[in-house]
C-alpha cells in the first residue's frame, strides 16, 4: 500500500476547469425543514446525477423530530421527485441515499452533539479518514447561535488536521448591525472567517454570475460604465406572492428592507457598481464589493430617510384576476403592523465612478408580476439632430434580467420605416432559455459545490454583511425609533407600488422602468 500523497491528480488535467469539491460529510441542521427538502437535497442529488459529488460524500440530517434514517430517506426521496431539476433516477437516488443518515437531537442538547462527534469519525473512516465537515445551518435564525455554541463545545470543528470544517449560514445574517456582529462573533469563535460561507443564493444564479462576465469580459461596456455615460440604475425585485403558507409570522418581524435589500439587492448593486477586481479569487472579488458598500452614502437623519426611502404596505386588490387581502389582513400579520412589504430607495455611492448617479432600488410583495432585474439607464443623446423632437424613452437602457426569463436586453433608438423621420425605441434581446436550451444548474448546486471546493467567491464576507447592516440600520432607526417617523404609504395589491415611490423618481426627473 503506497503512502498517502498530496500529489494532484494528473488525470483531471484538461477535463475540469473548476476547483474540485472534496469528499465531506454535510451536516444539515434543520433537516426536516422546507429548505432541506426543496433546495438542499435536490441540489446534492443533482450534483450526484451530474457526476460531480465527490465519492464518499455523506449527508447527515440533524433535527428534533423522531425518525429513522430509512424514514428520513423516504421523505427526501418523495420531495426530490417533485423538486429535482433533472428527472429523478432511481439508480442515482439509491446510490446517493446510501450515504444519507438521520441524527435526532434538540439543537440545544449537548448530548446530541457529543453523539454526533462520535458518529462523524465512523463515517470519515469509511472514506479513508478524511475529516472534512460541512455544517449547514438551514434552520431558523434564532437557532444559529445555540447550534454554533454546541458545535464548538463538542469540538465538532476540530478535525485534528485530518481535514477541514466549514459552515454555511443561511440569511438573515442578523436583524441589525448589533445582532450581525454578535452572530459573526459567535461564528468567529467557532470557525475561522475563511471557513465561513454566508450564502446568498442570488449570487449563485447564472445571471448574477454573468454580470461580471458582461462587464469585464466585453470591451464595449466598461468604458461607458461610469457617471459620464450612465444617468441612473434601477434594481427591481417584484413578487406577486403575499404572506401565503404562514410566512407572515417571519416576514412581519423582518420586512422588505431586512429580508431582501440588506442582502440580495445590495449584493446585486455591488456587482453592478464595483471596480474591476484585481483577480477572480474570493477575496479579490469581495474586496471590490466591500469598496462599494463602504461608499454607500449614509442617509442623514429622519429627513434624509424620508427623502430617499419610501416604505409601503399593500391594501386589498387583485393578483392574476383574483381578489387578495391587504397586508395587515394577512395570516399571522399584526393588524397594526408597521412592517413594510414594499420599499424603494434612492442610493448614492460616494466614489469617483458613480458621483451623481442614483441607484434606485425597490422590492415589493403583491406587485403585478414576479421579476428581478437590473436596468442601466444611459444618458440621453444631445438634443440636436434627431433628438430635437421630443422623444419619450429615448435613452438607451441595458437590462439584465436575473429571474425569471434570465437574459439581457438593450434598448436603442431606431428609425421607423417610411418617408417621415420618426423614431421609436427597439429592443435587442438575449434570452438564456432561448439561446442555451439546457437548464442552468440551480444556485444551490453551484454554491454547495463551491463550499465543498473551498471557493468563497460567491459568499458574503463578514465585513460586507456588517457594512450593509450599518447602512440599513440608519433607515430602520428612522422608521422605528424616531418620534416623527416617515409615513407608511400604501398601494393596492396588484399595482406597481405607491405613488410616493413614483414621486421620488419624478422629483429627480425620472420614472420607474415599466416592467
Amino acid at each position: 500500500m503506497p503512502a498517502h500523497s498530496t500529489l494532484s491528480n494528473p488525470l483531471r488535467e484538461g477535463l475540469t476547469s473548476r476547483a474540485l469539491p472534496e469528499p465531506c460529510t454535510v451536516v444539515i441542521f434543520g433537516a426536516t425543514g422546507d429548505l432541506t427538502h426543496r433546495k438542499l437535497i435536490p441540489a446534492l442529488y443533482n450534483i450526484a446525477a451530474d457526476g460531480d459529488l465527490p465519492p464518499g460524500t455523506s449527508v447527515i440530517g440533524f433535527a428534533r423530530r423522531d425518525k429513522s434514517s430509512d424514514g428520513f430517506q423516504a421523505e427526501l426521496e418523495a420531495s426530490n421527485r417533485d423538486q429535482s431539476r433533472q428527472p429523478h433516477n432511481d439508480a442515482v437516488w439509491s446510490e446517493f441515499s446510501r450515504h444519507v443518515e438521520y441524527h435526532r437531537s434538540e439543537f440545544g442538547d449537548p448530548e446530541g452533539y457529543l453523539r454526533l462527534a462520535a458518529r462523524l469519525p465512523e463515517i470519515e473512516a469509511r472514506r479513508g479518514g478524511r475529516a472534512n465537515r460541512l455544517f449547514y445551518l438551514a434552520c431558523s435564525p434564532d437557532q444559529f447561535e445555540p447550534i454554533l455554541c454546541q458545535i464548538a463545545a463538542a469540538r465538532l470543528c476540530d478535525t485534528g488536521g485530518a481535514g477541514w470544517a466549514r459552515v454555511i449560514v443561511e440569511k438573515p445574517f442578523g436583524r441589525d448591525l448589533a445582532s450581525a456582529q454578535q452572530l459573526n462573533a459567535v461564528l468567529a469563535g467557532t470557525f475561522p472567517e475563511r471557513e465561513t460561507y454566508r450564502i446568498d443564493h442570488y449570487l449563485g444564479k447564472e445571471t448574477a454570475q454573468n454580470l461580471m462576465v458582461l462587464r469585464f469580459g466585453n470591451s464595449i461596456f466598461e468604458p461607458l460604465w461610469n457617471n459620464r455615460f450612465i444617468d441612473h440604475v434601477q434594481i427591481t425585485c417584484a413578487e406577486t406572492l403575499g404572506m401565503e403558507g404562514g410566512r407572515g409570522a417571519y416576514y412581519d418581524s423582518a420586512g422588505a428592507l431586512r429580508d431582501m435589500i440588506q442582502n440580495h439587492l445590495l449584493q446585486l448593486l455591488a456587482l453592478v457598481a464595483m471596480e474591476p477586481p484585481v483577480d477572480l479569487s474570493a477575496d479579490g472579488v469581495r474586496d471590490a464589493k466591500i469598496n462599494v458598500f463602504r461608499s454607500l452614502r449614509p442617509m442623514e437623519g429622519v429627513e434624509g430617510v424620508a427623502r430617499s426611502v419610501v416604505r409601503a404596505q399593500y391594501v386589498a386588490g387583485s393578483i392574476d384576476g383574483k381578489g387578495v387581502v391587504g397586508y395587515r389582513e394577512e395570516d399571522r400579520v399584526s393588524p397594526e403592523s408597521m412592517t413594510e412589504p414594499y420599499v424603494a430607495l434612492r442610493i448614492h455611492l460616494d466614489n469617483w465612478r458613480w458621483e451623481g448617479v442614483p441607484f434606485y432600488v425597490r422590492m415589493g410583495k403583491r406587485l403585478p408580476k414576479k421579476t428581478t432585474e437590473i436596468s442601466v439607464h444611459f444618458r440621453k443623446a444631445p438634443s440636436v439632430l434627431f433628438n430635437r423632437m421630443n422623444l419619450e424613452m429615448r435613452e438607451n437602457v441595458l437590462v439584465m434580467r436575473i429571474q425569471p426569463d434570465e437574459g439581457i436586453s438593450l434598448r436603442v433608438i431606431s428609425k421607423i420605416p417610411g418617408g417621415n423621420l420618426r423614431m421609436e425605441p427597439v429592443k435587442m434581446d438575449f434570452h438564456y432559455r432561448t439561446s442555451f436550451g439546457k437548464a442552468s444548474p440551480e444556485a444551490y448546486e453551484r454554491l454547495l459545490l463551491d463550499a465543498m471546493a473551498g471557493d468563497a467567491t460567491l459568499f458574503a464576507r463578514r465585513d460586507e454583511v456588517e457594512t450593509a447592516w450599518r447602512f440599513i440600520d440608519t433607515i430602520e432607526r428612522a422608521w422605528h425609533e424616531s418620534s416623527t417617523p416617515p409615513s407608511m404609504a400604501s398601494y393596492p395589491a396588484g399595482s406597481w407600488g405607491p405613488a410616493e415611490a413614483d414621486a421620488m423618481l419624478a422629483g429627480d426627473g425620472r420614472i420607474w422602468r415599466r416592467l
Binding site: N9, G14, T16, P23, G51, A91, G128, G129, T434, K438
Partner: protein
C-alpha cells in the same frame, strides 16, 4: 409557417434563400428565431440530407443555430445545385416556440466546386462556424475550405483507412489557422468515462496508486478501436508512460515497469467503450463500466482505502446526443491535440 411536405422543407432558388427565409419568419409571428452558431454538416452519403435533418431536430433542442446541410454527389455526372429551407422549432419552457433555421443544399457534379461560394454565402454573420464532416475526408476537404471554420468535427470511427485519413487531416491542418479547434467524435465518446476514471483518483490515497499501475484493460464496441486507442494515449500522456508499439502489442512503459495493455472487442451495444480498468495489484483495481441496467457508468475502486463504488454519468449513445455534448463543452480541445500523436503511433500511423 408554410407547409412543406418534404422533410427538407421548402425548395427555393439558391439566389433567393435569404428572401425566402424572411418570408418564413414573417408568416409565423408566434415563433422566435435563435442562433448561437452556424452549424454545417457535410456528407457525401446518398441519404445524408434527410438523415441529418432528423438529427438536427434533436440537436437544436439544446443548441440554437443556423444549420447548413450539405449533401455532395461528387461522382454524379450532371452538375446540379438545389436548396431547401425549413426550421426546427421547440417549445421553450412550455411557452415560446424557439426555432433554428435549416438550409439544405444538394450539390452534384461540378457544382460541388462552388461549395464555398454557395454555402458559405449563407452564414449568419459574426457567429462561429462549426463544420461536422461526416465520413471519409475527400478531395473536397482542403485548406481553402478549412480556413473558414472555427471548429471542425470529424469521426474516425467512420474511416476505413484510419492512418491515411489522419495523415490527410494532419496535412490540411498544417495550413489551417491556428485558432481552429478539431474534435474527433471517437475522443468525445469517452469523455464521461475519462471523467469517471479521473474522479476515482481524486482521493490522494488513490492518486498514490497511479505510479503503481501495471495493467490497462479496455473493452470497446466493434468499430470503436480508435476510441480505445485515444483513451490509451491519454493515459500514456497524462501518466508519463512511453508508447512503443511493436507488432500486435500495445504495452506501455513507465520508468519502473511495463504496463500490460489489453484491448478487447465486445458484442455490439450502446456507446463506444464498455469498460476501462486500471490494475495496480491483483486486488487493487479501478474500474469504470457501462451498466446495462441503467444509463450510468458503474465506478469501482476495489480494495483501495477507501474502497469506492458509485455511479457516474455515461457518454451519450446516440449521435445527436454526442454532438450536443460536444457543442456544449466547446473549449479548445487542447487535450486531444496533445494525445493525438501518441494515439496515431498506437494506431500505426508513422
Amino acid at each position: 409557417m408554410r407547409a412543406a411536405t418534404d422533410i427538407l422543407g421548402l425548395e427555393v432558388p439558391i439566389a433567393s434563400i435569404e428572401a425566402e427565409l424572411r418570408k418564413l419568419w414573417e408568416a409565423d409571428e408566434a415563433s422566435t428565431k435563435a442562433s448561437l452558431i452556424n452549424f454545417a454538416i457535410y456528407s457525401e452519403a446518398d441519404d445524408a440530407l434527410a438523415r441529418n435533418t432528423a438529427l438536427l431536430a434533436e440537436i437544436t433542442r439544446d443548441h440554437s443555430c443556423r444549420a447548413i446541410l450539405i449533401g455532395a454527389g461528387l461522382d454524379r455526372a450532371e452538375s446540379h445545385a438545389r436548396a431547401w429551407i425549413t426550421a426546427h422549432c421547440h417549445l421553450s419552457g412550455g411557452r415560446k416556440s424557439v426555432c433554428s433555421e435549416q438550409l439544405a443544399f444538394q450539390l452534384d457534379g461540378k457544382a460541388i466546386g462552388r461549395i464555398r461560394n454557395i454555402v458559405f454565402a449563407h452564414l449568419e454573420s459574426d457567429l462561429p462556424l462549426v463544420l461536422w464532416w461526416q465520413g471519409e475526408l475527400s478531395r473536397i476537404f482542403e485548406p481553402h475550405l478549412v480556413n473558414l471554420i472555427d471548429r471542425l468535427i470529424v469521426d474516425a470511427a467512420e474511416w476505413r483507412d484510419v492512418p491515411a485519413q489522419f495523415r490527410l487531416l494532419g496535412e490540411v491542418l498544417k495550413q489551417a489557422p491556428p485558432g481552429l479547434v478539431v474534435h474527433d467524435l471517437e475522443w468525445t465518446r469517452s469523455f464521461q468515462m475519462r471523467l469517471a476514471l479521473a474522479s476515482l483518483f481524486d482521493d490522494p490515497a488513490a492518486t498514490a496508486w497511479l505510479p503503481g499501475i501495471t495493467g490497462v484493460r479496455i473493452a470497446h464496441r466493434p468499430g470503436h478501436r480508435i476510441a480505445a486507442l485515444h483513451v490509451l494515449a491519454w493515459l500514456s500522456t497524462q501518466l508519463g508512460w512511453q508508447a512503443d508499439p511493436v507488432l500486435g502489442r500495445l504495452d506501455l512503459h513507465s520508468p519502473n515497469q511495463t504496463i500490460r495493455v489489453e484491448l478487447s472487442e465486445t458484442a455490439p451495444g450502446d456507446g463506444a467503450l464498455e469498460s476501462l480498468e486500471l490494475m495496480a495489484t491483483a486486488d487493487v483495481r479501478f474500474l469504470v463500466a457501462r451498466d446495462p441496467a441503467c444509463t450510468y457508468y458503474r465506478t469501482e475502486s476495489g480494495e483501495v482505502i477507501p474502497p469506492h463504488r458509485g455511479l457516474a454519468p455515461s457518454d451519450p449513445h446516440t449521435l445527436g446526443g454526442l454532438i450536443s455534448a460536444q457543442l456544449e463543452r466547446a473549449g479548445t480541445n487542447s487535450l486531444l491535440r496533445r494525445i493525438l500523436p501518441v494515439s496515431l503511433r498506437l494506431a500505426g500511423v508513422g
